[in-house]
Amino acid sequence: MEHPLTVDFVRWIVLLPLAGAAINFLAGARLQRDFGKRVISLVGCGTVLAAFALAVYAWAAMLALPPADRFMLDYLWRWIYVGKLRLDIAFWLDPLSMLMVLIITGVGGLIHIYSTGYMHEDESYWRFFGWLNLFTFSMLVLVLADNLWLMFVGWEGVGLCSFALIGFWYKELSNTAAGNKAFIVNRVGDWAFVVALYSLFTGLGAAGHPTLVIRDVAHWAPALAGMPGYFGMSLVTFVTLLLFAGATGKSAQIPLHVWLPDAMAGPTPVSALIHAATMVTAGVYMVARLNFLFSMAPATMLAISTVGTLTAFFAATIGATQNDIKKVLAYSTVSQLGYMFAAVGVGAYVDGVFHLMTHAFFKGCLFLGAGSVIHAMGGVQDMRLMGGLRKRLPITFWTFLAATLAICGVPPFAGFMSKDAIIWDSFAHGQPALWALLWVGAGITAFYMFRQVYMTFFGEFRGTHDQAHHLHESPPSMTLALVVLGGLSVVGGFVELPGFIGRFDPFGNFLVPVFNSPATRRVAQSAIENRGLEAGFGVLSLALVAAGWFLADLIYRQGSASFEWVGEIWGGALYRTVLNKYYVDEAYAAGPVAAVLETSRASAWFDFHIIDWIVNFAATLAVFSSWLSGRLDRYVVDGLVNLVSNLTLEAGGRMRRLQTGSINGYLYGILAAVTLALLVRAVLRA
């Protein structure tokens, strides 16, 4: 830890995707026109897959180190040295960022390959891969950053790429609006993030250790204990709350979750990569990365776990009412991110990160499967128009089913290992209320996921005849990613078994050096250990999952109408509220957005009537003075100029007669002049 291993290959993991982006952006249009899309695919996928290969190499190198020393530093150059601030461009590879790098380049690489099939008909193929590569680069900077400012650069970079890719088909106004919404909502969180960094730097400076380098912050964090912050909070609480506010923006937690469902306007691979597997988990990653700070602020931890749990629950309920295949998955993502925050919020960082990883597998698979369905349906996303796709898209169906079982937490699929661990953690850390919500949320998850499976893949086809004729399985480039991710959804959880089955947790052991600060250990040790109770809760969860599955089966496969009364509770008000996403968007529209619009209108009025009047007055003055100076110019200045020019012309006309064009004449002149000069000199000497 004191002397991290210095290496020089980590930079290439980051720079390769950047090179891909540069090639695609700078030469992509020409390459695509002259050599076809194959070259773009090669550059786009090749760079990311090469980065993945390097990441695997780095992983092997890391495993060769003793567990306590698994840190690597790749220092590139000095970045900002101002006053006491010392920031470098340097990459810090520890087990946590190693895991993230493997997910980003591995799952990302698969999604790149998938995109070659999905986006094949698109004219702006090169632009898509340019942004995708740039996103990979930004995300890698985010997770590998050695200091918090560099992390923020990546944080903003992924936001930019997300914005550009949501609005990728920018000719539709709604797509660009969705991109804007994502960007603006994220701005709120980013603002909090920046303020948090300032406060943290100031606080550490007051403690005598001004730094933003993450490992140094970790080292000096205990010095912040007891330092007063603002608004009556301690500094650590203040900073961590703001950081968490930043995370709610990036990771779509209540109340900043509204952008993520709209972000489904982007191409489906983008939804899979950015809005399911990687970018939206940046908030979770950040909290886990800065666990030494968060663990010192119990109030923040409580806020995080509460917000995460509420998000997990309410997003799940919304997901159960949506009909758009991607919207369901979007709310599911919000909900699963809520689970992760609930985990890190109670101090179970390892389980949060574990769920992050398994979620990347199964949610990536689900989105790609949905993309495959949309591809086959010719762009239709409404599940009410689907049905019976099981036989026409067998690979998509089976992988989708595997991922569904994983997300529902059916053993032995990956989601069971990670999600049940989270649900148990919430209880083990003394939060039974949160446990209850998470538990019910798991049941709702099972319900909406199987609802989706049944509406999409079972029953009779409900679309048009043309669509039925057009249905086909996707090309191998797309199914490859489905199969790999589906397989990982099945087996990806075996790296960390629940405590009541047996002590087998290489995943947790791998991450131990990251979660090793005194505060984090204290939080982790506060959990109760009770194998029997844990197993019992597991069974409870399974029971509820089975109930949700059964309910979905009853309603959406067998078509039983005996549950119509659910939509009629309170005169249908409950159903309408959930269907309309608890009117959060409307509340925003009536609150902040309306306020901004009104202010803009008032400003516009002020601008139009007051400022414009002043401007017009100034303009009139300017016109008058111009007229005056024009007169002056024409009669006084021009007169002088004309005088000079006429004089020059006249003189030139006379002088030109000297230019005879006769060489001999010139030679006479030269010789006579030289002689004269000699004469004058001789006379002067004499």
Binding site: N664, Y668, L671, A672, V674, T675, A682
Partner: protein
Amino acid sequence: MLNSLAAQAIFYVIAALTVGFAALVAFSRNIVYSAFALVGALMGVAGVYILLAADFVAMVQVLLYVGGIVVLTIFAVMLTQGIGDLAVSNRAVGPGAGLAVVALAGAVMLYATLRTPWHLATAVAVASTTYGIGNAFLGVYVLPFEIASLVLLAALVGAVTISRQDTPPPADGAAEKGRS
């Protein structure tokens, strides 16, 4: 060395020949005669070089000037006009004015030449200079030497470019054959 009677006689003979040929260059009415007279004048100058113990320069003078430049000049004379076309070929304009200016310049320069107290060193022994010049060219003067070669190359290319006839390529092979 130059004080012996024989040396004086040789100097005066060479000087007279040189000046005579030079006068012919300047005053001849026929450009062909002028060109041939230049050969004589330059040979005379080469003789003067030898008197000044510059054997290598004298050889260069003969080879380059007499053998190269003058032949080139004569070629140009032949190429540009008929030899017999004497009247237009070498017309001299304003001999009076020319003589007057030249005489004035000459008087001034002669005055300067004779009145200047020249700084003289003791005469060095006469020996072959080729070795020394060669050393100097590849030693102290190597950069000017290389630049001069570049200038010559540029002149070569330039001359070819300038004098190339810009006639359109022949339409059929007949003209090509005729030219060769």
